[in-house]
Symmetry: C2
Subunit: 698 residues, 2 copies
C-alpha cells in the first residue's frame, strides 16, 4: 500500500516521517525522505521534512550535492525557473553545499534557431538568472542558460551555451561549453560559439567575455573548501584513450580541468537516450572518474522535447570509477549525493542494461534487453509532446494489425485509457477477425472504441474519381494499368475520419501508426496512415514491434491485453486483394520478409554497409531459410529503389520519438530528396575509366 | 529568328560560324561562339567551333579561364562527372589555362548526412576524381569533391570539403575548406572538418592529410606562370573590414592567401540565392578584389537541390573591383574569361539588382525590383525538383483565388502547360465567378482543365462524420461549438482528388498551394491545401504574391494571363460562410489585414523585433488607416498565438523553394514544436523578482 504523503495533514505527516526514521538507518532515511519531497507536499509538511533532512545530512554536509534532474519546456523560461527556484530553495533549507541543474536549464534543450529569431527570450533568460542568483544566499547553484555575447564587433556566433555559478546572492562565475556537437539531432554550432577557455571565468564577464581579455583565474571553483571542475555535456565526451584515439575534437576539457586537481567533476548535460548509448555513457563516465581519481557528478535533463527523449538517469561515480548513485530514468528527481562519502542510490535503468547496450557485431532478433527502455522512451515522448503542446486526447484507427495495436497500448499507458479513442474503420476488404480483434484489444485496454465503416466514403470517392480519371486520361496518356489509388483512398478516408474528430473535439490529436520498416519502404500512405499529429512507432522496426508486443503482454499490469491473434497474424494493410491468393495482400509478399528487411536497415544504419557488402555476406534470415541469389538480389534492389523514393515521405513525417541508435527522423538524418538517383552499388575503376572515354567520344 | 545550331549539318554550321566571325570583333566572337557551344552540338560542329575558338583565344591564352557553371544532381556522381569531363575536354580543345567548377562538383551541394550513412558514394567520388585527373593533360581543372580523412586514430570529422587541382594527368594539389557555415540551410560542420591550413597542399595528401605533418608548400598554385589563390565558398566571406568587424570566424582565408601575392583569386562556391544576398555578394567580391588589388573569379553552382535554389551568376572582378564578367542566372553556362585582360561578359541578373537587394530599414510594399529573381528562383525550384526526382506533370486545384492561380502560372512556365492539369473543384460555397475565373485562367495558360464537384464527397463524409461525432460525444464531453471540421473536409476532399490523380497517372505530383502569410497563421489545412509533393509559393507572403501576379501579367510572353478579377478579389478560402455577411468568409476578417500581417512577419524575420517593439512603433498599414491600440493589440496577440500553434504545420510542409532572406522552411529555420508556450512579450525585472518570491512562498 503506497502512502499518499501529499494528502496527509501535518500531524499525520509527522507520524509517518517518525515511522520512517525509526525503521531505517541515517543513510536510508535520507533517500526515503528525499523521495517524499518530490511529491509536491503542502507547505507545512515540507517544513517538517526539510528540518528532518537537514539534521540527517549534517554528517554528510561537506561536499553534499543536490542533483536536480528536471523536465523543462523549451523556451518557457518562467516554467523552468519555477522548478529551479524550488530546488534551490530545498537545497538551502536542508543545508546542501551545491545544487546542480542540467544544460541550458532556463531555456530547455534543444531550443534551436528560436534564440536567433526571437532574441527576447535570451534577454529573458538572463533577467531570470540574475534574479534567481539573488536567492542563493546559502547553497551554491549551477544553472544553465543561453549567454548572449556582445553584439558589436563580434567574432563568432552570437551566444555561448553557459552554466552560471550562483553563489552568495550573485553570479560568481560562468563556465562555457567548448565542444559543440552537430551530429544526430544536435545543432549546437548553429548559434553557439565554442568557448576558447575551459573552466570557470568571473561572473562579471557575463555577455561581455572576450578571448582577448581572458583572465587566468582558477578553472575550478571553491565551495566549502572543495574544488569543483565544471563542464557542459559534450565537453566530457572527448577522452582520447577511451575512444581509442578517435575523437571528434582536438581538445579535451576534462583533461584540462584535471590539471587544477579538482576534488570533484560536475557535468551538466542534456543527453537524449538512444539504443546502445546508455552502456557507452556508463563506461565513459566510469573511465574518466577512475583515470583522474576524481568523482564525477553527471546531471542529465529528463523529458521529451519534440523528437528527442531525454532519460535523466543522472549518475555519480566515485574516484575509483564505481557507480555510487543513479537517479531514476524518465522521471524528475531531486537526488541527494555526496560523491566523497558513498552517499547515493542506484535505481535500475533497464533490466538488461549490461546486455542491451553494447555494440552488436551482427544482427540479432534479441530485442528483449532494450524493450523496457524502448517502451519508456516512447511513453515519455508521447506524454511530453501532448502536455507541452497542450493536447490531452488521442484518436487512432484500430485495424486489428500490429502497428495500430502497439500504438494503442502505448497511448493508453501514456495518456490514460479514457483519453484514447480507437476507431475500427472497416472497408469491404476488412475481415471480421480484424474487427473483432480490434474490439477485444480496446476492451482489454479500457480505451474508448467504436466502429465506423468507410465503405460509403470509399464508394463515393471512387465513383467521383473514376469520372475524373476518364477526363484526365483524354489529355494524359500515362495511366497506370495497376495503381495504388484504391488502396490509398481507403487509408485516406480513415485519416479523414480521424482528423475530423481532431477538428471537432478539443485537445485531440490523431495518431500516425507507421513503423520504421514500412517507412523505409515507403509502404505508408501520404495523408493516410502516415498522417497524424504524432507518430509513436516511426523508429521501431517491425521485428522489434513483435518483440515489444510480447513484452507488453508480459510486463504491463494488465497481462495479455494484446490478443494473441494480432501478434500471430502476418502483417498486411488489408487495402488490396492478392490476385494470386484471393485474400488480402500480405505485406511481406509486397515487400520482402521483415526479418530480412530489418537486417538490411540495421546494416545500413549501424554498419554503413553498401549493396555488395550485403550481397556477399550471410543474413540471419538466410541461415534459417533457403534464399536463392536471384531472390536476394531482387530484395536488395527493391530495398534501394523503394528507399530512394521514400525520402519525400520521411520529410513530411509527423514528429516522432527517436528510439534507435540511428533513425530516419528528419531532425536526426538529413538526405536531399533529389538524391534519389544515387548508385549505391558503386563502380570499379576500370568501368569508370571506360565511361569517361565514352563521355569524351560523345 | 533564333538559329538552331544543334540542328545544322556541318556545312551549314560552318557557314553560320563564318557569318558570326565576319560581323563581330574577336572578343565579341568569342562570346557568341562560346554561347553556341552550350547547346549540345553534333560532334562535327563541335570540332569546327573549337578550332575557331582556339584561334580567337590565342592572344588571351595566358590566364584564360573557363568558368563551368554546372547544375549537378546530389549524389549522382556519374551524371555530374559527365558534365565535368565535357567541360574539361572543351577547355583543353580551345587551349584554356584553367577550367573551374563549383564547390563539391562531383557530389553536388548539399549532400548532407548521405555521406555518413552511405560512405560508398564518397569512395565513388574519389574514384571518379582520380580517373578524371588522367584526362587533364593540357588544361588545369579545379574540381570539388568530398575528401575522406583517414579513419583510424582520427581527430575531428570524417571528411573535408575539398577542391582538387588536376594538372598534368594527376591530382597535383588539394585545397580544403576552412570556414564551415551552419546557419540557414547550411550544415557543413555536421560531417566536414575545418581545414587547419589555407591554400593548396600536395596532391599526395589526399585522404591522408594530417595537421601534424603539414608541409609548408606554396599556398598558391602556378599555372602558365601565374599564381592562383584558391578558396572554397564561405572561405571568402569573412573580411573583417567589409563586415564592420562583425565576422563569424576568427581567421580570414583570403587574407592568408593574399600574403603569397597571387595573380588571381579563385573561389569555388555553391551559394543559394536569397533576397538581399545578391547585392551583398556583389559588393563583397568587389571589395575583396579591390582591397588586395587582385582579380577574383567566383564560380557558383546553378540549379535547385530540394529547398535551395542556386542562381549561378558566376562573376569575375578585375583587380580594381570592377565587374568584368557575369554568367547567366539560373542557367548552366561555360563562360570564357581572362581576368587580367577584361575578357568577359555581363548578363543582367534581375532588372533592379541595385535597388532590390540592399537592406531595407523599414517595411515596404515595393516588391518590383525582386520579382524577376523571385520568379526565376521558383521556376528553377519546380523544374529541378521534378526533373531530379523523375516527375514530369503536376496537378493542382484551381479555386479562382490568388494562391492557386500564381502556382498554376509558375507550373505552366516551369513544366510546360501540357504537363499541368488544373482542376476546379467547387463545393456548394464556391461562387460561379470563382469557377469561371479558374476556367479563364486555364485557357489563358493553355494548361489542361476540368471541373469536378466535391459536393457529393463532402456530403457523404459529412454524414458519416456526424454519426461518428455523436458516438464520440458520448465519451468525450469536449465538442467545439464552432469547429473547422466542415471547412477542412472540403480542403481534404480536394486533396483526395489530386492525390488520386497522382496515384493513377505516372510521374505526376499534386501541388500544395499555401503561401507564407497563411502558413505563419496556420491558415492552411493539413492533408488539404498544404498537402502536396511540392509547395511552390510557401516562402512568398501574400502582399508579394499580389505584386507577382501583376508582374506576371506584364512580363510573361502572353500578357494578362491572370484574369484581373482574381487579383482584385479579396482572398478567402471559400470554405465557410461569414455569419455576419452571409457571404464566403474573407481571410482578412479571420486573420488581419495582409499588409499588417506581412509587416509583422518582415519585422520578426528581418529585424528580430519582439511584441513591444512592434506595439510601440508605426506600421505602414497604420500610416494609411486608422488603427486603434486595442485593434493593434488584438492583431499582435493573434499573430503570436497562431504562429505558436503553426509550428507543427511548418514541420510537415512539403519541400518548397526558399526565396526570402529568411523563411519558415524547416531546413532553414528550426524551432521545437513544443516551444509553443514562449512568452514573446518578455517581463520586467521587478515582475520577475515578484514571481520568484511567489515561487518560494508556495
Amino acid at each position: 500500500m503506497m502512502i499518499k504523503y501529499e494528502k496527509l495533514n501535518a500531524e499525520e505527516f509527522k507520524t509517518e516521517i517518525k515511522n520512517i526514521l525509526s525503521k531505517n538507518d541515517n543513510k536510508e532515511s535520507i533517500y526515503k525522505l528525499s523521495e517524499i519531497y518530490d511529491k509536491n507536499l503542502p507547505k507545512e509538511s515540507n517544513i517538517i521534512l526539510e528540518k528532518e533532512l537537514k539534521i540527517l545530512l549534517e554528517p554528510y554536509k561537506k561536499g553534499s550535492i543536490g542533483v536536480a534532474q528536471i523536465n523543462p519546456i523549451a523556451g518557457d523560461i518562467e516554467y523552468n525557473s519555477q522548478k529551479v527556484v524550488k530546488y534551490i530553495q530545498h537545497a538551502q533549507n536542508i543545508g546542501l553545499d551545491l545544487v546542480v541543474f542540467p544544460e541550458l536549464t532556463l531555456m530547455g534543450y534543444p531550443i534551436e534557431d528560436t534564440i536567433d529569431r526571437h532574441p527576447i527570450i535570451v534577454e529573458e533568460n538572463v533577467k531570470w538568472l540574475k534574479e534567481i542568483a539573488k536567492i542563493t544566499t546559502k547553497t551554491t547553484a549551477l544553472v544553465g542558460f543561453v549567454e548572449p555575447r556582445k553584439y558589436n564587433h563580434l567574432t563568432g556566433k552570437k551566444y555561448y551555451n553557459s552554466v552560471a555559478i550562483l553563489q552568495n546572492g550573485k553570479i560568481e562565475g560562468i563556465v562555457r561549453k567548448s565542444l559543440l556537437p552537430t551530429y544526430s539531432e544536435f545543432n549546437d554550432y548553429r548559434y553557439i560559439e565554442p568557448s576558447p577557455v575551459i573552466g570557470n571565468q568571473p561572473g562579471n564577464t557575463l555577455g561581455d567575455f572576450d578571448s582577448e581579455k581572458i583572465q587566468k583565474c582558477p578553472m575550478t571553483n571553491l565551495i566549502n573548501g572543495l574544488k569543483y571542475g565544471i563542464s557542459i555535456c559534450e565537453d566530457c565526451w572527448n577522452n582520447k584513450e577511451f575512444f581509442n584515439d578517435t575523437t571528434l575534437y582536438s581538445i579535451d576539457p576534462i583533461d584540462e580541468l584535471s590539471k587544477e586537481n579538482p576534488d570533484v567533476f560536475v557535468n551538466c548535460s542534456a543527453s537524449p537516450t538512444r539504443a546502445k548509448k546508455e552502456q557507452l555513457k556508463h563506461n565513459m563516465l566510469s573511465f574518466i572518474s577512475k583515470k583522474y581519481s576524481t568523482p564525477i557528478v553527471y546531471v542529465n535533463q529528463v523529458g521529451a522535447i519534440d523528437n528527442s527523449s531525454f532519460d535523466g538517469s543522472s549518475r555519480v561515480f566515485d574516484k575509483n570509477g564505481k557507480l555510487l548513485a543513479r537517479a531514476k530514468s524518465f522521471k524528475e528527481q531531486f537526488l541527494i549525493v555526496n560523491p566523497h562519502m558513498e552517499l547515493g542510490k542506484i535505481y535500475p535503468l533497464t533490466k538488461g542494461l549490461e546486455k542491451t547496450l553494447t555494440e552488436a557485431k551482427v544482427y540479432t532478433l534479441e530485442y528483449e534487453p532494450d524493450l523496457e527502455r524502448t517502451y519508456k522512451t516512447i511513453i515519455q515522448g508521447i506524454k511530453d509532446y501532448f502536455k507541452k503542446t497542450g493536447f490531452q486526447r488521442a484518436v487512432l484507427g484500430l485495424s486489428g494489425g500490429l502497428d495500430s495495436t502497439v500504438c494503442a497500448v502505448l497511448l493508453a499507458d501514456a495518456l490514460g485509457p479514457e483519453n484514447v479513442f480507437g476507431i475500427s474503420m472497416p472497408s469491404k476488404i476488412t475481415s471480421s477477425e480484424s474487427k473483432s480483434d480490434a474490439r477485444e484489444l480496446a476492451q482489454n485496454l479500457g480505451i474508448n472504441f467504436t466502429e465506423a465503416s468507410i465503405k460509403e466514403m470509399v464508394d463515393t470517392t471512387n465513383s467521383c474519381l473514376q469520372n475524373l480519371f476518364k477526363t484526365v486520361e483524354q489529355k494524359w496518356d500515362c495511366k497506370y494499368s495497376q495503381s495504388f489509388t484504391m488502396d490509398n483512398i481507403q487509408a485516406r478516408s480513415r485519416a479523414m475520419f480521424l482528423w475530423g474528430i481532431s477538428n471537432e473535439f478539443a485537445k485531440c490529436l490523431p495518431i500516425a501508426t507507421s513503423d520504421k520498416s514500412e517507412l523505409y519502404m515507403g509502404y505508408a500512405t501520404i495523408n493516410g496512415d502516415m498522417s497524424g499529429g504524432f507518430a509513436p512507432i516511426a523508429d521501431v522496426p517491425k521485428t522489434k514491434l513483435f518483440a515489444l508486443a510480447h513484452w507488453l503482454n508480459k510486463n504491463r499490469e494488465v497481462k495479455n491485453a494484446i490478443p494473441e491473434a494480432i501478434i500471430l497474424k502476418k502483417p498486411g494493410a488489408e487495402l488490396a486483394i492478392n490476385p494470386k491468393t484471393g485474400k488480402p495482400l500480405i505485406a511481406e509478399d509486397a515487400l520482402m520478409p521483415y526479418e530480412f528487411l530489418d537486417e538490411i536497415i540495421w546494416r545500413v544504419e549501424n554498419k554503413k554497409e553498401h549493396y555488395y557488402d550485403m550481397l556477399n555476406s550471410e543474413f540471419l534470415y538466410e541461415s534459417k531459410h533457403n534464399v536463392s541469389k536471384e531472390q536476394k538480389i531482387q530484395w536488395l534492389d527493391k530495398f534501394y529503389r523503394r528507399m530512394s523514393s521514400a525520402l519525400y515521405k520521411w520529410s513530411i513525417l509527423p514528429p516522432s520519438v527517436i528510439v534507435d541508435s540511428r533513425s530516419i527522423n528528419k531532425y536526426d538524418y538529413k538526405q536531399p530528396i533529389t538524391s534519389s538517383r544515387i548508385n549505391y552499388k558503386g563502380l570499379d575503376e576500370s568501368i569508370i575509366e571506360e565511361k569517361i572515354k565514352n563521355f569524351i567520344d560523345v
